[in-house]
Amino acid sequence: MFRKKKYSDELLVNAIKTGGKEEDDAITYLIKNEYGKIENLIIKRNGSVADAEDIFQEAISVLIMNIRNGTFKGESSIATYLFAICKSMWFKRFKKYIRETDYQTNMIAYDVDESTPEIEILEDEQKALLNELFGRLRENCKELLLWWGSSYSMAEIADKLNFSNAQVAMNKKNKCLSQLRNLMDQDPKVQMLVKELGL
């Protein structure tokens, strides 16, 4: 009777691989349908709504990257996979908090997946510096490096940017990366940032 549009996992994967508006709609769908479970999980485990929002947004980013680079192989449903990423991230953060506050607790030993990234929080100044650095790249380089850094294959990048083949995309990527590296070398603040970020 009251059916709303529902994405299958296959549709979600395709939308994320396509990018653009289709990806935005897929993200909107995930937020509307999966956030409640994550908020419930984190609040039940001593977190706040702000924690839940942080973790959920980070986990969506990880999910998207893992779909694009093929790490997500569809062995579990997307909802289960996303839930597992959030659970792992939350326990990682919670353990760190416990360590930092030296708080004695009878916490259950949760199995934390060490490969799950921690949340990267950038200061405003660092963000501005990073944006300024990439802003100095030529427009076509900015776009190409963004696709490449977002785990799209050279064939997909060639398709998106209308290059004749993957090899052309690869050659352009090398030129753009060389440009980025030169800019990094010229700016001591960027070198400091790289160290601060532990890259």
Partner: protein, 253 residues
């Protein structure tokens, strides 16, 4: 550097595009040539910084979409939506009787206002034995009849009784059993559940409307609006529609 490597050759190595023999030679040279090692490290740094930047861009995008979704769900967004609804109502007055029917017949109003409550519980492997979670699995699959059967099995003594009654109500409503859903939502409200009381009130008002008890439904809708509860924006919109003179056009209700 004993041998000069071009930028592209170093990238070929890092991209995994060198043939096996060349890759092994290259790795031996890295170990013995500090200058080459340093050069490769700088490549890696640039690549990592680029990946980091791309991740940041993606996170910004996700955050923006998240904020937008939440803003649309807020009461103030609902108010804007009501203004749009008012414009649409004027358009309807000018012409489309069919559209009036679609918008103002109580059945259509309920259909437009209703959407299933999201699953707030995981259906992870370690909980599969849990009856409630089994019910939620069917709920997720929109197999409401199965979900109803399972939720009805959960006794009052079970800690999941209130959420089970709540999702039973939503499932009954989705499965065209408004009378049963009224009983389930009244049970939830009687338990005064912090988590489900407000949502149960919203769904109860829809179920009453669907069941033809418009006066009682309006009482609950006013309560939701006055207390700024869950779906206050939608409740206000519904009340406006319910009180609209367009409803008295022949054949609308």
């Amino acid at each position: 550097m004993a041998r000069q490597y071009t930028f592209d050759q170093i990238e070929d190595y890092l991209d995994g595009n060198l043939p096996e023999g060349e890759r092994l030679d290259f790795e031996r040279e890295i170990e013995s040539d500090a200058e080459l090692k340093n050069e490769v490290s700088r490549h890696i740094q640039a690549r990592k910084l680029n990946e980091f930047h791309a991740r940041q861009q993606l996170k910004e995008k996700v955050k923006n979409i998240y904020d937008q979704v939440k803003a649309e769900e807020s009461p103030s967004a609902g108010f804007s939506m009501m203004k749009i609804a008012a414009v649409i109502a004027l358009f309807i007055l000018a012409g489309g009787y069919f559209y009036v029917y679609q918008t103002y017949s109580s059945g259509k109003m309920v259909e437009n206002a209703f959407e299933p409550y999201p699953n707030r519980y995981g259906t992870m492997g370690d909980q599969l034995e849990d009856t409630f979670i089994q019910g939620m699995k069917y709920y997720d699959m929109e197999n409401y009849q199965k979900a109803i059967d399972i939720f009805r099995e959960i006794p009052e003594s079970d800690p999941q009784y209130v959420p089970a009654q709540f999702y039973l109500g939503v499932s009954c409503f989705s499965g065209d059993e408004p009378a049963s859903s009224i009983t389930a939502f009244q049970t939830v409200i009687a338990q005064d559940s912090k988590l489900y009381n407000e949502a149960a009130t919203w769904y109860l008002s829809l179920a009453l409307l669907e069941n033809g008890d418009e006066d009682k439904a309006k009482e609950y809708l006013r309560e939701i609006v006055n207390n700024d509860e869950y779906r206050a924006d939608k409740a206000q919109k519904l009340l406006r529609k319910l009180d609209s003179p367009l409803r008295y056009l022949p054949g609308v209700d």
